[in-house]
Symmetry: C2
Subunit: 405 residues, 2 copies
């Protein structure tokens, strides 16, 4: 039996906002939910028990990275990522596709060149050849191998193998990549179903599969892709290729085009998006889960989240302070007044400022704890506001001075 | 009233081993005790609550480093290190002397050159001029300023300002440095007493002062220094200049010369020593507390402590494994079988190996937790063995194949 299910309630918000529950073999996820990224089978500087304490419900791990190191034979010998990392909650893995392309392709160049031209990556209909960013060794990922790898990783949610269209892309290239992504989705599903049959015989739990909607920034392609993936027998829908764009307006457009064409009874994951202001928009447009490295990456740079009424400037910087700034050197107050996180209840801005200034390891950890707490609390409040029918007011309060949305 | 006291029991072991209790305004220390080093007001990668859980009783902080960054005005505005770091237990600070000399002087060159010759350091009878290792700015430390700084840091135990004799040193230079250290100890005590009077008026608790025994590797000088410092009205005795030597035999010699000349009723701190095999020797020779960066420094290199019967080779390497070695890539067992630390009860050798190989921040933390746990547990067992009269058997078991001692 498939231990994977999703129930949801529409909130009545026109754009499609909803609340739901995803049930996996390793526990439930109350949606909308923020998903921190543990690229190399670790959310940098934090332990799994800290993530649980922070209210993290789902842990994102990159297939590309763990395939290269420690390698799937190592993780396989533990029976999967759960035992290897010591995290017993739900895990979602990606297909490896995004990293294969993004770690090899030069960024922000139109991807209308011939497939052969990329120095490190060679795309064929069968799959993708690429070189390890560690040692230059050659590797091949296909829909079939990606499915096999993710079953070995044992994540609760897998992503179909896709070609993440670079940004910007010409309409012609975007269509080519999208069509291939659709063919690869079909092959992913076939491989996935076979792997599930063999795992089922061994008494192992089900691992869900999400198809990926691509189509770059083109409305016709995005709608076509949404309809195509929605028509497949997958467990959920992932929206890809959004985080690679540079404009928040474009992300909003994509969600506006796609959401009306998605089924209500399947969970949706937005890949790689989650700045503070984005969260309100993606929730409004019916996304259920979303992963993002920003909260932890910003933390390691000393950028710490605070509510917008503190320092709001009308930009994305309005949600954070730079704790490395001189003005915090003697500041005995916590990062965020009233915040209940471990960092804010134990340490001052001055101490964290000091740790960053002298490049101490503890700085990254204390900052990551605060930023993850901030986002999980925010999303928890958003869930509450959806239940109470006050989401749009809350959005207004948080984005009041932000003209992007 | 001085909230500082020491009681101890001789164990009957000829070399002078003893058990005791140091009472400070921030709690008691059961001795012998290992003291981890938090150079920059943080034990790298760990929080104060983790240190408490690990059984740490006393926290060592460097005056030189905290004086330069964040600066004493910042720490002073918190009322001292306890509030600044969020550590409510006892703290010991050094005088700053060791760092002033060691961070400026070329290592392992005979220090018989003229005082003026050191590029960054200028020693005068009054004190020492030096340049910051951060920005090259000029600073001056004297016995009086070191005392003032330590009272501002608010540590429970201060160390008198001394000249840490470089190793090796000629007998002539060693005497010169020792005589100056004795004059500086007298000045430290006078300054300390004045500062205590003014703090007492403000209702602040007492902060203890330890004098420092120097004298390099020369028996006559070490005995003279032990007698001189023992004759002073200080609260405890620190033994300096031992860690800078290269031979464990020399450390043992120094302790054999010094211990018989120290008072029984004052606690003794050995500065900068604490490899696993050293611990048995320094305890045997009546040391009560000892600080050492080795457990945490080795941890960050992937060198993890294990009992000697596992991999003992008769060298200092016999107490550790190098977790970065290929042989641990698939090892599902914990670092140390039966170890109760957080790292060993949650993670495998393979996972920690992976974290080190991909240079993840969590590696340093998990390794530091294990190594500090290992040492605090070892020293706790040593205390127990002293109580039961089985210390020498325990020492024999741990050092059985080690011909150094």
């Amino acid at each position: 039996m498939k231990q994977f299910s999703f129930t949801s309630t529409q909130t009545g918000i026109a754009a499609g906002a909803r609340m739901g529950t995803i049930v996996t073999p390793h526990g439930i996820i109350n949606t909308p939910a923020f998903v921190p990224v543990g690229t190399q089978a670790t959310v940098k500087s934090l332990t799994p028990d800290e993530l649980s304490t922070l209210g993290v419900q789902l842990f994102f791990v990159n297939t590309y990275h763990t395939y290269l190191r420690p390698g799937l034979s190592v993780i396989g010998s533990f029976g999967g990522l759960h035992a290897f990392m010591g995290w017993n909650g739900p895990i979602i893995t990606d297909s490896g596709g995004f990293q294969v392309f993004s770690l090899a392709r030069p960024k922000y160049k139109p991807a209308d060149r011939d497939e052969e031209s990329a120095a490190l990556v060679k795309i064929t209909e069968d799959g993708v050849w690429f070189r390890s960013h560690w040692d230059g060794s050659k590797h091949f990922f296909s829909p079939e191998s990606s499915m096999e790898y993710q079953w070995t990783l044992g994540s609760d949610i897998h992503i179909a193998f896709d070609e993440c269209t670079p940004y910007p892309a010409t309409p012609a290239y975007a269509r080519k990549a999208m069509d291939r992504t659709h063919r690869w989705a079909e092959r992913s599903l076939i491989a996935h179903t076979k792997l599930w049959q063999s795992h089922k015989k061994e008494g192992k739990p089900y691992q869900a599969l999400y198809g990926v909607v691509q189509g770059s920034v083109y409305e016709d392609l995005r709608i076509e892709s949404a309809e195509k993936i929605s028509g497949m027998d997958v467990d959920g829908i992932a929206i890809g290729g959004v985080s690679v764009g540079e404009s928040k307006e474009e992300m909003k457009n994509v969600l506006q085009w796609v959401t009306p064409h998605l089924p209500h009874d399947k969970p949706r994951h937005l890949l790689g998006v989650g700045e503070i202001d984005d969260i309100f928009v993606l929730v409004e447009h019916g996304m259920d889960t979303f992963d993002c490295v920003q909260p932890t990456r910003l933390a390691r740079m000393g950028k710490l989240y605070v509510p917008p009424n503190k320092v709001h400037t009308g930009t994305r910087d309005g949600y954070m302070i730079d704790i490395t700034g001189k003005e915090y050197a003697c500041d005995t107050s916590p990062v965020q007044a009233g915040c209940g996180c471990f960092t804010c209840t134990h340490f001052s801005r001055a101490y964290i400022h000091h740790l960053f200034r002298v490049r101490e390891l503890l700085s990254y950890r204390l900052a990551s704890i605060h930023n993850i707490h901030f986002v999980t609390e925010l999303v928890s409040s958003i869930r509450e506001s959806l239940g109470k029918g006050t989401f749009l007011e809350m959005k207004q309060q948080w984005l009041y001075n932000n003209h992007t949305y």
